[in-house]
């Protein structure tokens, strides 16, 4: 029941090799050229700032973000017949961007994301580690942090954890939408988000304490 959570959503592109061929059971919509441009301009283009922001937060590089957004939009246009008008265009686009990032960019990126991620997964995977783990931090300690410090803390997280926080807290996707974008079950969305936030709070605590807000870290 949990094996292929996104398969039933034919408006979302098949994963893996991102969208080479729309699969045969995907009902291709026959848009005229004019309709294609209309869908593209009315449903896809309005999300371009969010897409760019997402790309930049993933790659942490302006040139890579440029390339990633451009590739994503060109793919979206080429496979526009597998997009059903009126469905969630933003989630559809984010999913293509995420797949392009994993397949084309993450490989050549200098970030050792895979290693980091597995490391962190094992550290936090045991039920014990997870349930015992609450970060000792107070709201007042972080309330004076500035945007750059928050961004740095976020950037310090392994990419899979960074991703769920961006999708949820910055872009406001629901868990269900995130599950489709990331091709993971909702339960995994929930637990990954939980872990991501614990890690983020640890980073924020480091910033807060380096600013002297924390009381007892001397000696």
């Amino acid at each position: 029941m949990s094996d292929t959570p996104t398969r039933d959503e034919d408006q979302l592109l098949p994963d893996g090799d991102p969208i080479e061929q729309p699969s045969e059971d995907t009902p291709a919509r026959r848009y005229t050229d004019e309709q294609k441009y209309q869908v593209f301009n009315k449903e896809f283009m309005p999300h371009i700032d969010s897409m760019y922001n997402f790309a930049f937060r993933l790659t942490m590089d302006e040139d890579d973000a440029n390339d990633l957004v451009q590739d994503t939009y060109l793919k979206a246009f080429r496979f526009i017949s597998s997009f059903e008008q009126g469905t969630n265009a933003k989630a559809w686009l984010f999913r293509i961007l995420k797949n392009s990032f994993i397949n084309d960019y993450r490989k050549k990126s200098k970030e050792p994301a895979k290693v980091d991620y597995q490391d962190v997964e094992t550290t936090y995977n045991s039920e014990d580690a997870e349930s015992e783990h609450t970060v000792d931090l107070r709201a007042e300690s972080v309330s004076d942090l500035i945007g750059d410090e928050v961004a740095n803390a976020l950037n310090a997280l392994p990419v899979d954890f960074r991703t769920v926080i961006i999708l949820c807290d910055i872009e406001g996707f629901t868990y269900e939408e995130m599950a489709k974008i990331l091709d993971i079950p909702i339960g995994t969305v929930r637990s990954r988000l939980h872990r991501a936030r614990n890690l983020l709070k640890e980073k924020l605590r480091d910033y807060a304490s380096s600013m002297g807000y924390k009381e007892e870290n001397e000696e």
């Binding site: 760019y52 957004v69 939009y73």
Partner: protein
């Protein structure tokens, strides 16, 4: 033990206020569901009750809310460069 607890800022603690939460990890998960708009009515009611009676839950709630607001409000949103928008639009025009 009182020293390890941060003193409450303004409001007087009710006499039945708990200073230790026995379900802290579960409460934290519930708090996140609520702030994400993913909680059930039942969970909402439970948090409501905890926020009246459990100090660790109150503090966790404020922290989670603050962290979420840092991300939503304080981080700079990068906008797509005009040039890229123009490039994309002209590239797709040459497609068909």
């Amino acid at each position: 033990m009182q020293t390890s607890l941060p003193s409450s800022s303004s409001s007087e603690l009710k006499p039945e206020m708990k200073h230790n939460c026995s379900h802290q990890a579960d409460c934290l998960k519930m708090i996140q569901l609520i702030l994400d708009g993913e909680a059930t009515e039942q969970q909402l009611a439970k948090l409501q009750a905890n926020l009246e009676s459990c100090k660790p839950c109150i503090e966790m709630y404020h922290l989670e809310k603050e962290v979420k607001e840092l991300l939503t409000k304080r981080m700079e949103k990068r906008c797509c460069p005009e040039q890229l928008v123009a490039t994309i639009k002209s590239r797709i025009l040459s497609f068909s």
